[in-house]
Symmetry: C2
Subunit: 466 residues, 2 copies
């Protein structure tokens, strides 16, 4: 999942056409790191090791929903591989996670003609009764439209046929659709999948209930079918569907955050933490979202180790668990540490936008920290990843950022991210080995230099967007 | 299905940036038709009638494989609507068609991990034994690669993981894969779906057997899974799959070509025929392939009628049946006519490349006919559809072209055509109402002017590509 608004960035930007002036001007803070940054970038781009690891992880274990055996087996494999890599302190830390299981599910158009409709239940949804729900469908194009047709909604399945604009705006229907539909007496809530492109492919994701209204089943249809049902309604046809879902929420399950590090030579208690989330939805293999983020961070730390670098402070790669449907991993990472340990985190970096071609980072940090990061990021000019924007951060590092830890989110050219997001299509082939290597380089240079700076990055409450 | 090689045409071409000189030069042959062409174009672009009809047809009847009830109900509806349109001589003509049914089918990866793989059996395939086929998979990237690994193929499922280059080159593996795999002792043949883009969406299509080797089941996996299985093999993992298919070929079924016309005022026995195929594969709703072609031709004739035009010769819109897996409709159209009636066809136009933005026509005709068509097509400059290329034609009009009837195939900006081709994604939303209206205009102007020219278009054996 991706929580922050994403900016689809024109490809042209990725090539760093207009280099910041700082790159040409001597800078006593970052100039000492130019040679080592070049070595890190060259090492990252020397082979396809990161992509190969990403493919091995995602092909080998498949998708990794919280509570699944696949997630725990993947975590076992990662910690063992981290040990083989010779990283310091490879280990896991326990996290209790929600355990939602999809079970059998189906949607069928009953009228005006009978046909199976591809669908995916939304994560957290309740089941339908065993025999399913057969009801007329009311198709609306917004919450306002639903309000306008409130008299028609009772006893119906409400379908929100909302075209994709940007993720933040469109995903509101996935999050809140079931609550708003239940409020007007609907018996189930359907959305048009949150994606700008479809080959009749449903996209899942988290949804919320609310204690003020009854819980009704919630699922995603494809873009194609949402539009088709809408056209049928517009033609005056009575649209009837049968929805069957056996989803269950089981007792919380045991999972783990997984991590390893390069221990700092002067201030081992001061930490630059970087990572992604190792859990995924239960479709595809969660390669973009977010095995790529975990692997990029992990490979960044492995490269630093391999190059024989021992920075002033500790650099820790983490695979957080349960980002998608609970955020328990990110919270447990903070809660299992003392306030002093949390305060020892001088920077937190997350990659959860797909390891496509990197263009830079988004920052959630104080002005003084951003001023330094702005100078450090010039070191990424050779790979066109030298754009620092605000705001930034990530869901898993959010709990650290709440305590004033500066946060960075890796920004990439993600124009196809939502084509595959939370769908069967999120598999390793969507990511390019050179782009993945560039992401590793960007994470590694940023982490290494900040861990090596003479003074720690200034703390402070993250700044709002300017 | 699309038989001829398709050229993916740069969008820029569609805007007619460089108009042929002929458009600016007086031309006594076509200048008398400029005003009427403008009227036809304006009428076509005045509303979304064509797209609405395409959506009503495809939403209302769904996909239309030969032998299906949906195909025959769609044909009934079309002929009735043609009657309501006030067209001349709306009727159907009987055609016996192959009757292949998919039945239940599934593919499962058994090793190195268990997971269901989305798949589609290929049209014409035999079934597996009832318990399915469980076997090791040999993944190859070409027929040559299969030859090189012939010693490993016996008793295995062969998977051709061939990246999409162009349709003609890649579809060879769909057509001939089962024969080549059986020849080396394989027990089933799988292909990577023939598409340049995938959201783990399988694409079906026709396949062939050959009397020299035994018949083995044939199916398509997704691009993602073909690549994943290939990577597993490259890592030295043993790949084992279970394939279950209940496909059957039933006795030939009854279908029909459907047609109506505007009868010629001087030479009703001379005919410009235009159309597409009304059958489709049994996925999606066959909107691009090829309800759009049928509707564009039909709407072209309806517009001519609506404008009160009665051309010198007859203009006939046809929905041919069974293009996808038999070509029986196109053959029956010719075979049910006397040689004189066939010879009375002065031009045949087909649209089977998706009714995207039209750029012109491809011609399969004599040099002298092409010289005239080159002048006529300048009338389509206002909508950027004035490019005449060679060769051209279409599968359904092939039998007429074999008898020397000049043939034209509508060319469109089809860069996304193979994203959805023969997949669940081929639905009405992929087509734009304005583009569809432009296709109607292009077909209508071309048909009307050729039907109205003082002299019939010269006959001759279609010319090979220059």
């Amino acid at each position: 999942m991706l929580k922050l608004p994403r900016t689809v960035v024109c490809l042209a930007l990725a090539f760093g056409a207009s280099a910041p002036v700082a790159a040409q001007t001597p800078d006593p803070l970052v100039d000492p790191y130019r040679d080592i940054s070049t070595r890190i970038i060259e090492a990252a781009l020397a082979d396809s090791a990161a992509w190969n690891r990403l493919a091995a992880l995602t092909d080998g274990f498949g998708n990794r929903l919280s509570g699944s055996e696949a997630l725990e087996r993947a975590i076992d494999w990662i910690v063992e591989e981290m040990r083989h890599d010779g990283l310091d302190n490879p280990h896991t830390e326990p996290v209790k996670v929600p355990h939602w299981v999809r079970g059998q599910e189906s949607a069928e158009l009953v009228s005006p003609r009978k046909v199976a409709l591809p669908m995916l239940g939304l994560g957290g949804s309740i089941a339908t009764p065993k025999q399913g729900i057969t009801a007329e469908v009311l198709i609306v194009d917004s919450f306002d439209d639903l309000k306008a047709r409130v008299a028609e909604a009772k006893g119906k399945i409400v379908l929100f046929d909302v075209p994709f604009t940007d993720y933040g705006a469109t995903v509101a229907y996935r999050s809140r659709g079931a609550v708003e539909a239940a409020r007007v007496g609907a018996v189930a809530s359907l959305i048009r999948s949150v994606t700008p492109n479809s080959i009749r492919s449903p996209h899942t994701g988290a949804m919320n209930y609310d204690s003020t209204v009854s819980r009704i089943p919630a699922a995603a249809l494809t873009v194609e079918d949402a539009m088709m049902l809408h056209r049928m309604q517009q033609r005056g046809e009575r649209v009837v569907m049968k929805l069957v879902m056996q989803a269950q929420t089981l007792p919380d399950a045991d999972s783990r955050n997984v991590m390893a590090e390069v221990t700092g030579r002067e201030h081992p208690e001061e930490v630059v933490v970087l990572g992604g989330h190792i859990d995924s939805w239960d479709v595809g293999t969660g390669a973009m979202d977010d095995a790529g983020g975990v692997v990029a961070a992990w490979e960044a730390v492995r490269l630093i180790k391999q190059l024989g670098l021992t920075p002033r402070r500790t650099i820790r790669a983490v695979g957080w668990t349960n980002e998608e449907n609970g955020l328990r991993g990110g919270r447990a990472y903070r809660e299992s540490r003392t306030p002093e340990q949390v305060a020892g985190h001088i920077l937190a970096i997350e990659s959860d936008g797909g390891v496509f071609r990197p263009i830079g980072f988004g920052a959630g940090a104080s002005d003084s920290a951003v001023a330094i990061l702005q100078r450090v990021i010039t070191l990424l000019q050779p790979i066109g990843a030298d754009s620092l924007s605000r705001p930034g951060g990530g869901a898993d590092i959010g709990p650290l950022m709440e305590r004033g830890v500066p946060g960075l989110g890796l920004n990439t050219v993600g124009d196809r991210y939502f084509w595959y997001h939370h769908s069967q299509g999120d598999m390793a082939d969507k990511l390019d080995p050179v782009d993945v290597a560039r992401c590793v380089a960007a994470m590694a240079v940023m982490a290494y230099v900040v861990a090596e700076l003479p003074e720690p990055l200034p703390k402070g409450v993250p700044q709002a967007r300017e």
